[in-house]
Each structure stands twice: as C-alpha cells, then as structure tokens.
Amino acid sequence: MSVELAYTPLRVLAERIRCGELSPVEIVEGFLERIDRYDARLGTYITVCADDALETAQAAEREIKAGSYRGPLHGIPVVHKDNILTKGVLTTAHSKTLRDFYPPTDASFVARLKACGTILMGKTNTTEFACGDMAEYGPSRNPWNLALFSGASSGGSAGALAAGLAVAATGTDTGGSIRAPASMCGVVGVKPTFGRVSRHGVIPLSWTMDHAGPMTRTVADAALLLAGMAGPDALDPSGSKRAVPDFTEGFTPELSGVSIGVCQEHFFEGLEPAVENALHAVLSELEGLGAELRPLSLPSAGELAAAADVLVMAEAFSQHAARLRECAADYGPKARRRISTGAFYTSAEYQQAGQVRELWIRELDLAMRDVDALVTPTLPFTAFSLERQERGAPDTSWATRHFNLSGHPAMTLPCGFDEGGLPIGMQVVAKPFDESTMFRIGHAYQLATGWHLRRPRPFAGDDDA
C-alpha cells in the first residue's frame, strides 16, 4: 500500500470505492501489510482480524459491483478499542480476567457500523478496563516518538490512525479517553453528546460518564463515522431517541455567524508555552474565519476532578465488585487499586459528587447560552514518556472530564506542534446534540490549516529506522 493511500481520508476512499476505482480488498490488504510491517514497534493492536477482514472486503466488493452500494462507510475498514464487544472476536479490555472472552454479540454501534458495510479489521490496545496498566499485551507507543505514550485509554486507536495503520477507529471516553490520546497522537477524537451513541456492548467503567465515539484523521471523516454509529437503541436505556442528522450538512469554509466562548479560568492557566502559543493562534485563526470570540466565565471549572473521580470509581466498583472478590490478583495493580477505591466512598460522598456535577451543568448551560461553542486546549501539555505513565501520569482529564460530567459533545483536533515535533490538540465543545456546529467549526479550521496533514516520519515515508 502506498503511503498516500494509507493516509487518504475516509471520505475520499469512500468516493473511490463508490465509483469502482478502488476495491475494499485492496484497502484491507494494504492496511494488513502495514500493520504487519510496523505494529510490532507500536503495539496499537491487540487483535488483527486478517482473514475475516479480507473475506468481508471481498463480499463488499461483490456487493458494490452488483450495484448495492450502501453508503460512504461501505467497504471501509474500521478498528474498535478492545473494551468494545465484537461478536466472535477476542475482546480483552487489556485484562487477564478477559483473556478468553469471545463475545456472543456485537456492541450495538458495532452492529450499526457493520450494517453500513464497514469491515472489522481489528481491536486496538487500551489500558486495563480503561483505567489501569498495559502489562498484559504491552504498551501502545506514540508514532511521533516511540519512547512516548500514545495516551489513555483509546491510545491504540489514536496511534493506529496517526501511523497510517487504520483510517477509521472507535474509542470510549469516560474522562477524556478518546480526546487525550487523539491530542497526543495528532488525530481527531469525538466524544458525542451523552446518549447519542448507544453504550450497549461497551464494557462499562462508569454508566453516567462513559461515551463511545469516532476517531479519524479529519473532522469530516469523524462526522461520517459518527453518523454510522449514532441513533436510538432499545438495548441502551440511557440512549437518546433523537434522529441522527447529516452532520456534514452545515459545512462551510468560513464561520460567519458562529460565536465561540473562551474561558480563561482554568482552561488557559498553566499551559506549556507551546500549547499556549498554539491556542492563541487558533483563536486568531477562528476569528479570521469569521467567528466571533466572546469571553465567558466558568468559576467551577478547576474544581471538578474529585467529584468526577468519586462518581467514576464508585460506579466502576459496583460493576467489578463480584469479580474483584473472586480474582483480584488477576487484575493489574493499577486497575485493582483504582477500581477498589470505589468500595470506600460513602453514599453521601457519591451524592455530593452528583451535586457538584448538577451545579456544574447549570453553570455551563448558563455560560453557553449566548455562544454556539467553546474552544479550549485539549491538554495543557504534549505527549509524555511511557515511563512517566507507569510512574504516575499527569492529569490527562484536565480539560475534558468537564464534558463527561455534563454530557456536552466535545472534539479534539490537531492545532500545532511543539518544538520537539509533538502534536498539540484543541478542543471544541458544543451544546447538547449540536454536534453539527462542533463539526462545522473543526472542518472550517482544517480547511484553513494543515496541521492534520502532518505525518510521523517513520511511518509516512521510506525511513524505517
């Protein structure tokens, strides 16, 4: 597979497949070849479904040739984070406790994507139960620098996209687990509105904070993939019954009439200088595209970490309690200890955390009343070392947990690089169920800038060093 094809956006591949110029088999074969060549160094996959993917690609090719084209996801290979159930395909959540787990069903959104004609190409690396170590299957490394971490916990999906080993991926996000790795690897990651995508078949961490969403290299591709994943699901009682719009309908190359809130409190404090410079450049760029920037205040933004932690770990423990009693030693130390903290919070503390969340939602709703979206950095820093991750990672939910608590849609996209050549991410947050505005802003930004087109050198050329 040529490097150009490996980094071709989903939207372009889809058009070439539709008009018969490119075969899904050729695409899958190409990615499998690249995975074989590069992934031993990266560790982005836990399982590669080579034979099944080729078989499905051949079936898609036959179907399309016969005139039964299903839409822009038909014949597109997709990879799912390994805490998402895939029928008959090993699903480990990177845990020894699930080493032989071959689910009897697909997660609902996996089934939806299959119905759109996607091809399951593999399962990507994650931290144990999206909150622990990566001891069982090894770490997923950052394609921009192999000594660095790709991020937690959808880091396998982010790394595979950045290295050109996948064109479309999914992840899950409880405090930023799609957005943080996407930012660290220089790709697009979307946490949709709570309820937009069914969580049925996602191994739960926290039922009030978990979200599933798309990860791609362009905003337009993320909009297409989300449209395939989203929609009502009788199997997920927390899901929304709203119809799914065409998220690309409002795309324009400029942003006139769009108002963007900028909150200096918390989100612009303590940034690494390169991140601060990049974000100031983002704000100028957005203004240049016609958006109106408005300052706004969110005084509680820096006070949410404890409440989020109590909610997530109390809910996680309630899921894991029985298994922890039976086989605590099979959990890695980090997941065992983090999840077990949930056993020691009181019901009053859980309620108090819920109250902090409720008041935060009210504060955010009020602040966003007069703007269409918010823009913040995704992380205050760029990627850090694997050693740092093992020793005790910095707070990667610093700007993201806010929108798991509130349920607002939020997306990261690349907006620059630091002096060490590592990607920087910006976060766009919209009002609930207004992903279209979030995508419109991100798409216009990507049309005007080229950050998303940069590729990590060892995987984008002939340099195999």
Binding site: A306, A329, S340, A343, F344, L359
Partner: protein
C-alpha cells in the same frame, strides 16, 4: 469516619476484598486526596431539589 489503614483493612475484609497491604496503602493515599478535594469543592448552594437556602459554610477549624 476515621480514614486510616486500620479502617481500610477492616472494611476491605468486611466487603470480602482480597487486597494486599501494598494495595491498601496506595488506596488510602488516593482516598485521602480525593475525599479532601471533594470536601473543598462542596458547593455553597443547593442544586434545586432541596429547600432553596444555602448551606452554612463549614468553619475553617472543622474542615
């Protein structure tokens, strides 16, 4: 509630959790940080379901 290792050992045993001493030390450090931070972020207003008057501030010597 006194949050210390002794209480954690008792509570882990009561809940049937086979956690090691090393686990409990790590859990204690995490709980102390989070519980203290949650106390600090205790809102001075209600979210609307309770009677509509503010909580009294906790005196500094009792925080």
């Amino acid at each position: 509630m006194m949050l210390d290792l002794e209480w954690l050992r008792y509570e882990a045993a009561r809940q049937g959790l086979p956690l090691s001493e090393e686990d409990l030390v790590a859990i204690l450090a995490s709980l102390q940080r989070t519980k203290e931070a949650l106390l600090r972020s205790r809102p001075d207003q209600t979210e609307g379901l309770e009677p509509p008057y503010p909580f009294a501030a906790i005196p500094a010597d009792r925080q």
